[in-house]
């Protein structure tokens, strides 16, 4: 079959034909491209260890493992029509994603459906999506503050005190309300969220967002029960690739649209006769 790619007038997005993962994003308008590998991973939740009895729970994010990929290869189905181009990726029976491009849209849409997270192995799981690029980010990444100010974050660093980092993953997670991005001197990769999530860049050139979690232990911080809901969640991320100087123009307006989308109301037949603006 043909190459695994989707394209509109703004973007061309390539996928690995063997594994089905996102491989590269090309911004045709700006003449730039960036290898981007995206996958879903999970961190094993801590049940307490020799260093500390602290377990992962509703309040406490304390992974006891590195990120474990949900799937090394994904099943895919490509759908190309005049109004939309989609690659459906099936990572597992509880993890899937649709990667979508529409005509006129200068961003890539990722719609993920996750859950119920399996816990038959008695391990709590905190699920992330991670984007890996060759960008030389030198430990720097950016998150928004309640949709307004963009704050620079630096790995293993706090601007107002000397940090002794004891949690290399959780200690570098920050709130993401509408967007997170990484950049080098030329390019910026931005990911917009449709809800508040935790996010980080625990490796240079990578950014990740926590998308779902299911835990089996109480963290003894007052909740009194594990966060053990077998929920299915669906959400969207918008991915933008731009030159650094032009990036904010793209992500500011898009972030507003994502958190306050239009409301859709239906009526049988002709419906009310509303005066059109």
């Amino acid at each position: 079959s043909g190459p695994l790619e989707i394209q509109n007038e703004h973007l061309r997005v390539l996928f690995d034909p063997l594994t089905g993962h996102l491989r590269e994003i090309q911004n045709l308008e700006k003449g730039i491209s960036l290898p981007v590998f995206q996958n879903f991973y999970w961190y094993a939740a801590s049940a307490g260890d020799a260093a500390s009895p602290q377990a992962s729970g509703a309040y406490i994010f304390r992974p006891s493992s590195g990120p474990i990929p949900v799937a090394k290869r994904v099943s895919t189905a490509l759908l190309k029509t005049p109004l939309v181009q989609e690659l459906h990726q099936n990572f597992s029976s509880w993890c899937s994603q649709v990667v979508r491009l529409r005509p006129g849209q200068p961003f890539l849409e990722l719609e993920w459906t996750l859950g119920p997270i399996p816990v038959g192995d008695s391990v709590g799981k905190e699920l992330i999506t991670r984007f890996q690029t060759p960008l030389a980010t030198a430990g720097r990444f950016f998150t928004d503050s309640n949709g307004r100010q963009i704050l620079e974050r630096r790995r293993d660093y706090r601007p107002t005190w000397n940090l002794s980092q004891t949690e290399p993953v959780a200690g570098n997670y920050y709130p993401v309300n509408t967007r997170i991005f990484i950049q080098d001197e030329k390019l910026q990769l931005s990911v917009l969220t449709d809800r508040s999530q935790g996010g980080s860049s625990v490796q240079d050139g990578a950014l990740e967002l926590m998308v779902h979690r299911r835990l089996l232990h109480d963290d003894e911080r007052g909740v009194g029960e594990p966060l053990d809901e077998a929920l299915v969640v669906r959400g969207r991320h918008l991915v933008l690739l731009d030159p650094v100087g032009a990036a904010s123009d793209g992500h500011r307006g898009r972030a507003q649209e994502l958190v306050t989308p239009p409301h859709l109301i239906l009526a049988p037949g002709k419906g009310p006769h509303l005066r059109q603006a």
Binding site: Y59, A77, K80, L83, P268, G269, P272, A277
Partner: protein
């Protein structure tokens, strides 16, 4: 009788840090969800009343709360319906609309009565199990809608034929 204060109070309660971060107990999470659901239902009545007043019509309005999982009884069973898009932003937006349908071909008219490009997209090949859709619709009607700043746009949709959606122009299944 619609009432926005039900949702206002539910959202106010949900400003508690446990509701914002999801660190509440399960029965409290259920209560937050119940309050928000009741608040939204009450607001829907208010919005429907306002639109009926503005449009001079007593026809019922429908809110499909499960559109994110492609479930909407109205669009799945009707051959003629209207989509109203309300934009709360202070600038024009263009927004992709996806509606679960069971027909093959539909005509979508924009607010000025001009036809809009649309298509019925069938399910991609079902040889891979992915939980994309919860409903029983055979396809999804896609079109690019738009709405003015802080305003409404109405799109009238009519089914032109019955039957199963056609195959997409190009559909490739990878291992």
């Amino acid at each position: 009788c619609g009432d926005s204060s039900v949702l206002r109070e539910a959202v106010a309660v949900a400003q508690h840090h446990d509701a914002v971060t999801g660190t509440e107990r399960q029965h409290v999470a259920n209560d937050y969800a119940r309050r928000l659901s009741e608040g939204w239902a009450s607001c829907q009545v208010l919005v429907a009343n306002a639109l009926s007043l503005l449009g001079g019509s007593k026809d019922p309005l429908v809110f499909c709360n499960a559109l994110n999982v492609s479930v909407c009884p109205l669009t799945e069973t009707s051959t003629h319906f209207t989509v109203i898009l309300y934009n709360s932003l202070a600038r024009r937006v263009s927004w992709p609309v996806r509606l679960p349908v069971n027909g093959t071909c539909y005509e979508v008219m924009d607010p000025q009565g001009h036809p809009l490009p649309s298509q019925v997209s069938p399910d991609p090949p079902r040889t891979i199990p992915y939980p994309e859709r919860a409903g029983g619709a055979q396809g999804e009607l896609l079109f690019q809608a738009f709405a003015p700043p802080l305003g409404f746009s109405t799109f009238r949709i009519r089914q032109l034929s019955r039957g199963s959606p056609q195959d997409p122009p190009k559909s490739v299944l990878e291992g």
